[in-house]
């Protein structure tokens, strides 16, 4: 199994802990502003004040998924409120859209003050890479909106037109109570409807009026009926109230209720006046986004906002600035839901490549590669048996003496050497010194198993490693001597390997446990700066020909004081 690729160490996290950290990060206002804006945008000549509110709750949960080996796709729900104070339809003066956007973040490394750090980089995000996965609240401009816009426009127009003693009153319900006579026209209010004629959309308006012509002794309620073409683009709706349709059937007409011989003449004279009055409404232009245009606009805005940002994950500043983490490089294993962080590039002559999934069902696992294991083993053997593998080392004990010529300790897979579990395979050659007899040459090999005893209480999580020598019987004192020679060195090797792993992946090594071979540890960085505290616990170890794996579990809690903290300390705010 490829544990660490071309690196020495690897930390793998399951997608669930990554999600948990992400949710906590989203709660950090300083890191991820929850409220963006208001900022101004001008559409169709109208200025919109736009505010964005980030969401992550039960009803609208943020999420992430591993898209490919280098990209995390973030699913971010937010509310976008657009305020248009002068919207023709007051109901559209504030529109709130509920959006869920998918944004890809690249798992990338970049140098900071000479040291690489790993993080999520959005700087390459283009609009096309952003997806609008959900969009709700986008208003569709219908007859009601036109009606409301006309009601609104009515308030700003003249309602009484005169020519000599003649008078034309425009009504819209009771919106102008100063008009005399009061409104008794049909329709009582301005009415609008959308109709299609010859492939063109029109708004049909019925405008209640009263006409007074004293010289003809004529007064009548009535209505002006007219059609105006509606022009829609993806972003704008325009109605030119001055543009009379060419079709005769859609010509502006004046209808009067009271009969009179002069009625037709009055209508003929009044119609041009009515057209002029309608032209007073001008060209009504309103931002009106269809869904396609709205989605594109959102993609553009999101990309523009995000593509100047990147967020560090593994950074020298996360720990001791004097001890920066070495070349952290991240890979995602989408099929398995695993985030792998490699550290200490061992071989720069090959392109970095993803490790295999060694996480299994754990939340967290650390791995150290075979090459690093071999280095530490070689160093330990050299300390305990200097000269071995290079001429020989004299081993002298109370029980006897020997010249150890070669000694090899290598991690081996389960299934090799007829052993059902992974082990350290020890082999060597020695010359055993026997009194009064020629010294025989002995070659030996056999397995050492690494067993783990976990002490886990509400306040402690300690992993104890117990090297066990296969097939050795303690009744055999000669073997006991061998165990005394090999087991302590295996113990030191394991401590060196585990502690080096912890150290190199940014964990913390505290002082020694009093009187014992061990120490308090933080297996991985215990903080995600400003976001979360991580409590990792190594629970096991597995040995294979490719190195060692230390599976563990992870508790994640919000950094700072939580409700539970205050409750636990009896410091909840009192009324």
């Amino acid at each position: 199994m490829n544990l660490t690729s071309n690196f020495d160490f690897c930390v793998e996290l399951g997608i669930d802990p990554v999600r948990a950290i992400f949710h906590l990060a989203l709660k950090n206002e300083a890191l991820f502003p929850h409220n963006i804006g208001p900022f101004a945008r001008v559409f169709s000549g109208r200025t919109m004040d736009i505010s964005v509110r980030l969401l992550d709750d039960i009803d609208a949960a943020a999420d992430l998924s591993f898209a490919d080996d280098k990209h995390i796709r973030f699913s971010i729900p937010f509310e976008l409120t657009a305020s248009v104070p002068d919207a023709p339809d007051p109901a559209l003066s504030e529109v709130t859209l509920k959006v869920v956007a998918g944004i890809p973040g690249a798992l990338a490394s970049w140098p900071v003050e000479g040291n690489d750090q790993l993080g999520i980089d959005f700087t390459a995000v283009a609009a096309a890479a952003v997806s609008i996965d959900s969009l709700a609240g986008l208003p569709s401009i219908d007859a009601g909106n036109f009606t409301a816009a006309l009601h609104s426009k009515y308030d700003s127009l003249e309602h009484r037109y005169t020519l000599a003693d003649n008078e034309l009153l425009l009504y819209d319900g009771n919106r102008d109570l100063t008009l005399d006579p009061p409104n008794a026209a049909t329709p009582f209010e301005i009415e609008a409807a959308l109709e299609a004629h010859a492939g063109t959309e029109y708004v049909k308006v019925r405008l209640p009026i009263h006409v007074s012509v004293p010289t003809a002794f004529y007064q009548s309620y009535g209505r002006i009926v007219f059609w105006r073409a509606v022009e829609r683009t993806g972003t704008t709706i325009t109605v030119n109230m001055a543009a009379e349709p060419a079709a005769a059937a859609l010509a502006t007409t004046v209808e009067l209720d009271a009969a009179s011989p002069a009625k037709d003449l009055i209508i003929a004279n009044l119609t041009p006046l009515a057209r002029n009055a309608l032209a007073g409404f001008g060209t009504i232009t309103e931002p009106g986004f269809d869904e396609t245009a709205a989605r594109q606009l959102l993609r553009d805005e999101i990309a523009a906002y995000i593509n100047v940002r990147r967020f560090p994950i593994y950074t020298p500043e996360s720990g001791d600035e004097e001890e920066p983490l070495a070349t952290p490089v991240g890979f995602l294993l989408p099929a398995d839901g695993v985030l792998a962080i490699l550290m200490n590039r061992r071989d720069g002559s090959v392109s970095d490549f993803a490790p295999d999934n060694f996480l299994g069902s754990s939340q967290l696992a650390l791995a150290v590669g075979r090459a690093k294991v071999d280095e530490i083993i070689a160093a330990a053997i050299d300390e305990e048996f200097p000269g071995v593998n290079d001429g020989g080392h004299e081993v002298s004990t109370e029980e006897g003496s020997a010249t150890l010529y070669t000694l090899s300790v290598v991690p081996a897979d389960a299934g090799s050497h007829d052993e059902a579990e992974g082990h350290l395979w020890v082999s060597g050659t020695a010359e055993v010194h026997i009194d009064c007899w020629p010294d025989p040459d002995v070659s030996f090999d056999g397995p050492i198993f690494l067993r783990v005893a976990l002490t886990e209480t509400p306040t402690e999580c300690t992993m104890e490693i117990q090297p066990q020598v296969g097939d050795f019987d303690f009744d055999q004192s000669c073997c006991d001597v061998f165990i005394d020679l090999i087991i302590p060195i295996v113990g030191w090797i394991m401590l060196a390997i585990i502690e080096s792993t912890i150290d190199e992946v940014g964990g913390e090594l505290a002082e020694e446990i009093a009187g014992g071979q061990g120490r308090a540890i933080q297996p991985i960085p215990p903080v995600v700066q400003g976001v979360a505290e991580l409590q990792a616990c190594l629970e096991d170890l597995s040995v294979g020909a490719d190195g060692f794996v230390f599976p563990g579990k992870l508790r994640i809690r919000r950094e700072g004081t939580s409700f539970e903290d205050l409750q636990g300390s009896g410091n909840l705010p009192r009324p």
Binding site: G446, I487, P488, S500, G518
Partner: protein, 287 residues
């Protein structure tokens, strides 16, 4: 220098009601490897070794017979007398004793063992058997009249398997402690890593460590293990000599009984030599 965790008698929680800790094989583990039976060497002409001179003269022939089958050669480590017999080599009683005695300890240790055995034999009037629990209890409580003490739950002091200088060199392989993350943490669980303490072994009992004062035991036990004798080492000179002899015996090369030898050769009984030793080859002396 930091003291070893086992450098002075310590209370242990795990002993429970057991009056004395035995040296059970806590670390022994059966592996998946099951060595096949070893065929007896064939075709060796009978060779009789009557004296030590014969033994010296026949070294080349003996080495050749052992080296002829490296797999069988391992049996020489299990019991050289019985292995020689399987190789067609008959040893006189004198040579058998010589072989077993001389190969069991280095010279200095063998001399010390001989001296202790002689002194104890003279003092007790019988062959000392410190690794025989019943014999040891009878000798300590009935012959030497020592008052029994309650050492339940007390672990003797042991010398560490590695010396202090080596431990320091090995410890240097470990990364230094690094308080990387400053600031208060609310984490309630403290994580740790450690390696199991090394095995106590009777042959590493620390003869010079100071003993704790132990309460008297109302009734003398009927058996006394070597690690329990440890708590009487300062109560009587012979007790100390018995303990030292017992330790030396534990340090000896263990030769198996004929029955055990047969079972080990037949693959019916597991043995470290069969599983761990691939070959044994004796140098062929120039004639």
């Amino acid at each position: 220098m930091a003291r070893s965790p086992r450098s002075s008698p310590t209370k242990t929680a795990a002993l429970g009601s057991r009056p004395y800790q035995s040296f059970a094989p806590r670390a022994a583990r059966v592996t998946g490897r099951a060595p096949p039976p070893i065929e007896l060497p064939q075709g060796n002409a009978p060779l009789t070794i009557a004296t030590r001179r014969d033994l010296a003269a026949s070294q080349k022939e003996i080495a050749a017979r052992i080296n002829a089958d490296p797999r069988f050669a391992v049996m020489v480590l299990v019991n050289p007398v019985l292995a020689f017999k399987d190789l067609g080599i008959e040893l006189s009683a004198e040579v058998q004793h010589h072989l077993m005695h001389r190969t069991q300890h280095p010279v200095e240790l063998r001399k010390r063992r001989d001296a202790l055995e002689q002194a104890l034999r003279e003092a007790l009037g019988e062959e000392p058997r410190p690794n025989d629990r019943a014999w040891l209890a009878a000798t300590v409580f009935e012959r030497l009249k020592l008052a029994p003490v309650d050492s339940a739950g007390i672990e003797p002091a042991y010398l560490p398997p590695l010396n202090t200088a080596l431990i320091a060199r090995l410890a240097a392989l470990r990364p230094k402690p690094k308080p990387r993350y400053r600031g208060a943490r609310r984490a309630s669980v403290k994580a740790g890593i450690r390696v199991a303490a090394w095995q106590p072994a009777a042959r590493r009992l620390d003869l010079d460590a100071e003993l704790p004062k132990l309460p008297a035991l109302a009734q003398a036990p009927r058996e006394l293990a070597l690690d329990a004798l440890y708590f009487y080492k300062d109560a009587h000179p012979l007790a100390r000599q018995l303990l030292e002899l017992g330790i030396i015996q534990r340090q000896g090369f263990p030769f198996h009984t004929p029955d055990a030898y047969r079972k080990i050769r037949a693959g019916e009984r597991r043995n470290a030599f069969r599983n761990w030793i691939r070959s044994v080859r004796f140098p062929v002396a120039e004639s």
